[in-house]
Symmetry: C2
Subunit: 463 residues, 2 copies
């Protein structure tokens, strides 16, 4: 527990209503979207200004109290869990859209702005911010930067880091630092904006974000392809990527999700299909027509049993709702769902899907999966129960085999969820040891007392 | 001069033919594309393998000898000038294209591969790597990464950093480090690939580069718009950017360049025009038709006197040759051409062009400019003669006024050329002092003896 004196000082900085200490309040900030980890904070603060963030960090730094920055807590690698206790600094009240500039094609927001709220404000001006983690209804912009979030649109439009132009960041000692700016080209010094992007709250607290925008594509078309064989679906994705067409989205859903969704919200999905691909083409109407014709042609040649085209915006929205509900459908399926996130080269998708089948057979665990197939980014899930120690240990071992299978194919430990707590014990297999040491030392430069989100990404030595 | 013993050791590592010590050879590596700086190296090495790079750096590090990495030397901020002498490590013999993967949409190359050679190899497979610094005919891929290069295509497609997936980097102590990979999504640890990108050779020597590719756009159309007033041309660019259409290129050329090009290579350019905009739409044929129609309509409404459409690929190529020859045309115009590189928000283009006019009038210097208007990135040049100390000092002062005018409008000190030697004395005005300190300390982590491209980006304290 924090000393009463410190809590009083926090209340002086933020005001009473922005400091939570009741056990039932703290409990709500003890976990995030990751099912296998939780830890109680000592206190939660909800600052409303950058200056307050600065003063909280200064106080914490002087007293060497851990501070875990957090947005909406939709993180799925444990990054926002206060594993060392201390302060949870929640940014949800820093939630103003500060500027939308249609000519410069930029927006500046506070970190607590919910991604969907930004998108709605942009849509009114026919503007578009592509990175779309499937938690978009709740996740905050600060979290998307800290995690360098991706989603379905990234196959055509790239991930969060490809849209960041400027950040305001508060360092551990309270210093408010401005990085980058509002221009799309900027070659002033090292790419420090990129250093804070994806740093999972370990280097600073992000308090302002400037992103570049695109005009809203005037037209789009959604297609659904049905496959009897999952690996054939994977190969179809490779065929599309090699064909020269660039779909806006290429998503993969397996039979488990199809059935679960159909149970929860009946929408006439083909419940016998072993896999569905959901695809979108976007751009000018003419480009959409040309692209979707080409995509449908390839899907059929690649072995799709059926290709349906959403007849209107409502049907398209229904398909995408299915996809965005996929994780929720999976999470309800067992006491403990180990939902993971790997990526493989796009020419290795079918091979990886075969490999998942073998691992499933060998381990006896059913492996469910869905994901952003157009990026080679899949989310395999294992259903288990962490209260059963023996089974949970076997499930963890099986998940490790999945990571290793992805890496053996030239893939990566995390495609878009980050390392957090969930994957830190695998980091040494996935990253050069000297690179890990460089990360540690960079953290030492900006956070010498190791107060910011301690215990994340890499394993601590000698603990 | 280096000791004879060290030169012998370098010859043992690389072979005699890869070590240059003759004065006339060294002279060729004493300057780059920047006209106001030069310094002789003690020795030039041309390694052919990563292992050789590693051994050279190990030797240099043990003996605390400066090493300036260099590609084709097309740098225009002095970044590849060996300002402290020592070794120039030239990567031009590390010039193999290692892999082009059409399904994964990636290429892996050595740093000495010339950008144009990569583009030609990709074109054979209908693939496309967008970043296009106007030195593309000679510049090397390693240089484009070290400088995070941009060019005309970046208005639609983004800069080099938006295409980098993986790097192999040799650190100052000779350690060969692999960062990132070949997947388009990768959330494994901090963005260290991005840290080395744009670090101007100060953090490591890049020995392998994996980039993501796009399918070659099937069609394109080039347009040229003629303006009587430069600021009206600038406003037209803002109008296009706000309209929802995304041109592939939007370039600005002033009357000076028009006349010089027409003198050098007559192509029927409108020599009386005060400004030209060169624009390109690309994508599917249908999208190109729709986009170019919209662009032409806006250009006319925004005050273009005339809009010409290139009738075929040859005429389009001629227009773009004019643009890529723009800098060459400018460089021949005076003994000393201070060719600069600033960027302003895209809604401030007309205001910045007005401001340049005022600075020109006040200073008495003619200010020539061209640039990537669609990104707000302009290259103003002042013609002077550095042998005339008084005039050169006034020219430098005038250039400083241009930088400050851009920054006052929310712009940046460098849009795409980097800081190098040319702009380091302005860095403190353009970057947070704590951020500069963080850069210094990061360099201290990976290069404690400060051997890699010393004396660049920031000013050394107490020197």
């Amino acid at each position: 527990m924090l000393e009463t004196k410190l809590v009083s000082q926090l209340k002086k900085i933020i005001g009473k209503e922005g400091v939570l200490t009741a056990k039932e309040d703290l409990n709500a900030y003890s976990y995030d979207g990751t099912t296998t980890w939780a830890h109680m904070p000592d206190v939660v603060v909800l600052p409303t200004t950058t200056e307050q963030v600065s003063q909280v960090l200064k106080l914490a730094n002087e007293n060497k109290i851990p501070v875990t920055p957090r947005g909406a807590g939709t993180n799925v690698s444990g990054g926002s869990i206060p594993i060392k206790g201390g302060i949870v600094l929640c940014t949800t009240k820093l939630n103003k859209i500060l500027d939308i500039n249609k000519t410069n094609l930029t927006a500046t927001v506070e970190p607590g702005v919910v991604l969907q709220n930004l998108n709605m404000a942009l849509a009114k001006q026919s503007l578009f911010y592509p990175p779309d983690p499937q938690s978009f209804l709740g996740c905050t912009m600060g979290g998307t930067v800290a995690e360098n979030a991706g989603g379905p649109y990234c196959v055509k439009y790239g991930v969060t880091k490809q849209y960041l132009l400027g950040l305001e960041v508060v360092l551990a000692n309270g210093y408010i630092m401005k990085l980058g700016g509002v221009t799309v080209k900027n070659r002033t010094g090292y790419e420090l904006v990129m250093l804070f992007t994806g740093s999972e709250g370990t280097l600073g607290v992000i308090t302002k974000i400037t992103v570049r925008l695109l005009p809203m594509p005037p037209a789009s078309k959604t297609m659904m392809a049905v496959f009897d064989d999952m690996a054939v679906g994977g190969q179809a994705v490779s065929d599309i990527m090699a064909s020269g067409v660039v779909p806006a989205k290429v998503e993969f859903v397996d039979n488990f999700v199809i059935r679960r969704i159909e149970e929860m919200t009946p929408m006439g999905l083909p419940v016998e299909a072993n896999a569905l691909l959901l695809l979108q083409a976007d751009g000018s109407s003419a480009a959409v027509e040309a692209d979707s014709e080409q995509i449908i042609d390839i899907l059929k040649k690649s072995g799709a049993k059926e290709v349906k085209v959403a007849k209107d915006a409502n049907e398209a929205a229904m398909y995408w709702k299915m996809r965005s509900g996929g994780f929720a459908a999976v999470f309800g399926a067992a006491h403990t769902v180990m939902a993971e996130d790997v990526a493989v080269p796009r020419d290795k998708l079918a091979e990886f899907i075969h490999k998942l089948g073998e691992i499933s057979k060998k381990s006896g665990f059913f492996i469910q999966f869905l994901g952003h197939a157009g990026d080679g980014n899949l989310h395999p899930s294992i259903f288990t129960d962490m209260r059963n120690e023996e089974e949970f240990a076997r499930a963890q071992k099986t998940m490790a085999e999945i990571f290793r299978a992805a890496m053996e194919l030239g893939g990566v430990l995390s495609g878009e969820h980050g390392i957090g707590l969930e994957k830190q014990r695998f980091l040494k297999e996935a990253m050069d040891p000297v690179a890990i040491d460089i990360m540690r030392k960079i953290k030492g430069i900006v956070d010498p007392n190791n107060i910011l989100n301690p215990g994340k990404i890499w394993e601590e030595e000698g603990v």
